[in-house]
């Protein structure tokens, strides 16, 4: 497999066994991470394809590319695919699966077979959802609101609901595995206060997955029962309350956004520390903020329902709680920034993504505060302002975190360096493309353009055209890494154990690691982020 065979090839997790059975029946957390990498990339492109069609339709004010019903399906499936089949698994299932055991000095996760089961559940869910797409799709919005989803939609609601139900179990089992692993399998000397912040953030994410996802599961099941067996739980004609669905749905779906962002924050901490060569400022605060985000994130869900008909008193409560939940996120941003102060900064690809993350996540988070304000929300709810807000966090935040993490740990995962020049170019394209796509949407929303509409008044066209133009640049930025990562697996410069000179147990084993992670069980006697003891790499590895 190596193009330049300098020595006999060392055995590691990639070459230990070959053949499709060794991959499909693996219990090695690192191989399972790669299985997930392949599958979520596939779904990313499906979700991206729907986005492309949406943006093409919105190039012109008239509804001239697709019919209205089709447009409803496009935005619904774009949302469901991107959230349930890409973002929720992304960092935890790829980077988390790969790194959690390595970072704590364990040989594998606590339950390797359940880990594999998680992936199979995800794949089964994915196949069912693909079948749903090709047999008619779903047009309820990603949110499945009743009574449209239960009584009026003529699309494949049951199938989509079942697919997401199964995907939810994949998520729950991943979270369960991480919590048990982190509690029970830390190497000797790896105390809680020596854990990388990546682990703290994934621990917080796992708590959300465990406590929130089951509520989504039962809610979707009730929708399926209502459609299939004519039960009347959400049926207004029988006295059912559509808002009950929304309460139960958002009880999960709001914390879900923290499932999506906390792992990106996990990456951020590791990348910022490494490329400023400093311990993260305020380690305890960042660790505790992760937990605080997980807890507070469960207290704010009805801010999605301010204009749906909830009582004003509860709206006030949820509004103030929504302001409070921003605090721990802000603490993290301040701490990352403070880490950079007087640090020795290198502008590598992961660090470019990290810079982008801080700026874009902050913008997304601040606009969330606008939305938490009842008076403003009345005007911008269900407009493009909301769409811009969550895309800033989920794309400008979470996806950039994912890409930054993939680049940072690529040498460890594959044993190769990606081409740094192309990496930086792609990061720049993503940043520019992203802002061009989504900043105009803030303005559109403020001006009153509603979301989920397939036509719009002509005065909104210029901004929509800008947005679509941005999305094409963004698409190029996303395709490039796919190409050069694949290229690097054969032709990339061979990486040594620690090309970045980073702290963390994962960098103390070879790249790629052996199947059981460490040749000798590690014993930890140092604090996290001990950059004062780690020499900077002689040169930041750049492919010329």
């Amino acid at each position: 497999m190596a193009t330049v065979a300098v020595t006999a090839e060392r055995e590691h997790y990639l070459n230990k066994e070959y053949g499709i059975r060794s991959w499909l029946l693996t219990t090695d957390h690192k191989r399972i991470a790669l299985l997930y990498l392949a599958s979520i990339t596939f779904f990313f492109f499906i979700g991206g394809f729907f986005a492309l069609l949406i943006r093409l339709e919105l190039l012109t004010p008239a509804g001239d590319l697709v019919q209205a019903d089709t447009y409803n399906k496009l935005f619904s499936m774009h949302g469901q695919v991107m959230i349930f089949f890409f973002l929720i698994p992304s960092i935890p299932a790829v980077l988390g699966n790969f790194l959690v055991p390595l970072m704590i000095g364990a040989k594998d996760l606590a339950f390797p077979r359940i880990n594999l089961l998680s992936w199979y559940l995800y794949m089964i869910a994915g196949v069912i959802y693909i079948h749903c797409i090709v047999t008619g799709g779903v047009d309820t919005g990603w949110t499945f609101y009743t009574p449209f989803s239960t009584a009026f939609s003529n699309t494949r609601v049951i199938e989509a609901g079942i697919a997401i139900f199964i995907a939810g179990f994949s998520s729950i089992l991943t979270g369960l595995n991480f919590v048990v692993t982190i509690h029970r399998m830390r190497a000797p000397g790896m105390t809680w206060s020596r854990l990388p912040l990546f682990i703290w953030a994934h621990y917080a994410t796992s708590i959300i997955q465990l406590l929130g996802t089951p509520v989504l599961a039962v809610t979707l099941l009730l929708v399926v029962f209502e459609r299939a067996f004519n039960l009347g739980i959400f049926d207004p004609t029988r006295g059912g309350d559509p808002l009950l669905f929304q309460h139960l749905f958002w009880f999960y779906s709001h914390p879900a956004v923290y499932i999506m962002i906390l792992p990106a924050m996990a990456v951020e901490s590791e990348v910022v520390a490494c490329f400023t060569r400093k311990r993260i400022f305020g380690y305890n605060f960042v660790a505790m903020s992760s937990i605080a985000i997980a807890v507070f994130g469960f207290l704010v869900w009805a801010h999605h329902m301010f204009v749906a008909g909830i009582s004003l008193y509860s709206a006030l409560i949820f509004s103030i709680l929504s302001y409070l939940v921003a605090v721990p996120s802000a603490i993290k941003v301040f701490n990352w920034t403070a880490t950079m102060y007087k640090g020795s900064i290198s502008f590598t690809t992961p660090m470019l993504y990290a810079f982008g993350f801080i700026g874009l996540f902050t913008m997304g988070g601040l606009t969330g505060l606008f939305l938490a304000c009842l008076g403003i929300d009345v005007h911008v709810h269900d407009t493009y302002f909301v769409i811009a807000h969550f895309h800033y966090i989920m794309v400008g935040g979470a996806v950039m975190g994912y890409l930054g993490g993939l680049h940072f740990w690529w040498p460890k995962i594959s044993g190769r360096m990606y081409p740094e020049g192309w990496g930086r170019l792609a990061a720049l394209l993503v940043f520019v493309g992203f802002n061009l796509t989504f900043f105009p949407q803030f303005i559109l929303g403020y001006m009153g353009m509603p979301r989920r509409y397939w036509q719009y008044p002509p005065e909104f066209q210029v901004l929509n055209v800008l947005s679509t133009a941005g999305s094409t640049i963004l698409a190029v930025g996303y395709v490039l890494p796919m190409v050069y990562f694949l290229w690097s697996m054969r032709y990339g410069k061979i990486a040594n154990d620690n090309p970045w000179g980073a702290a963390g147990l994962e960098w103390k084993t070879s790249s790629p690691p052996p199947t059981f992670n460490f040749d000798e069980a590690p014993e930890v006697t140092w604090e996290a982020y001990n950059y004062e003891e780690i020499p900077a790499p002689a040169e930041v590895p750049v492919e010329r």
Partner: protein, 233 residues
């Protein structure tokens, strides 16, 4: 999926290679099961939330619906599950003490109790079918309206009570079926002598699951069957 040969030779085959020792493996398994039960609390909790809200809104219909289900069968079923929890607990104890035959008997008894519960539940559901209390097109609560002329019963709202009744008892029954399935496996392996005082973790965590399903029923019973049984004036 190859095992490091050293680990296998020094410990029994049930010690998985990525664990340091049997105690770590057992601690991980029990923590994992408790976390799973926490997810189940939230899973059933969503339905309890729906129940809470609709009972608050439609008390009369919930009361009438509650009276129409068989309190004797419900009480008997509660007792059946309590007996099954006893046999499970005694079974874990038998495993701890290495009493293989006793363990098998207790596991089988647990399965019998579980099947009895499901059988009685089936009878109850059939009763509802006969009385036209299944939500949907053939739903008819005229009998309830007639029975309680002094309170106003909205037949549409009555469907909500029964929708929740079927959803909650249905999902509970599904968990029972899964539990019975798990215990069939446990019985088989217990019969083969796989569980010893040194290694009986599957019995222990299977037992935890079973007890949890029992606890869900302990709450379902008063909430569904005992809303309002006082004599009508």
């Amino acid at each position: 999926m190859s095992d490091s040969p050293i680990a296998v030779e020094q410990h029994g085959p049930e010690l998985l290679h990525h664990f340091v020792d049997a105690e770590q493996q057992r601690d991980a398994a029990t923590l994992g099961m408790w976390l799973f039960l926490a997810t189940e609390i939230m899973f059933f909790g969503g339905m309890f939330c729906a129940y809470l809200i609709y009972r608050y809104a439609y008390y009369n219909e919930f009361a009438a619906g509650s009276r129409s289900i068989d309190i004797w069968l419900g009480t008997i079923n509660t007792a059946v599950l309590i007996c099954s929890s006893l046999t499970v607990a005694l079974g874990v104890r038998a495993a701890q003490m290495g009493k293989r035959k006793l363990l098998v008997v207790l596991l089988l008894l647990t399965i019998v109790f579980g099947l009895a519960f499901l059988g009685i539940k089936g009878v109850e559901w059939y009763q509802k079918f006969e009385e036209h209390h299944i939500p949907g097109h053939s739903f008819n609560a005229d009998d309830l309206v007639k029975e309680y002329p002094q309170i106003h019963i909205d037949q549409q709202h009555e469907q909500i009570y029964f929708s929740l009744y079927f959803a909650m008892t249905g999902l509970h029954a599904l968990h029972m079926i899964i539990g019975v399935g798990i215990f069939i496996f446990l019985t088989y392996y217990a019969g083969k002598g796989r569980y010893t005082p040194k290694y009986y973790t599957p019995v222990e965590i299977g037992g935890l699951y079973w007890h949890f399903v029992d606890i869900v029923w302990i709450y379902l019973f008063p909430l569904l069957y005992l809303i309002d049984r006082k004599p009508l004036r």
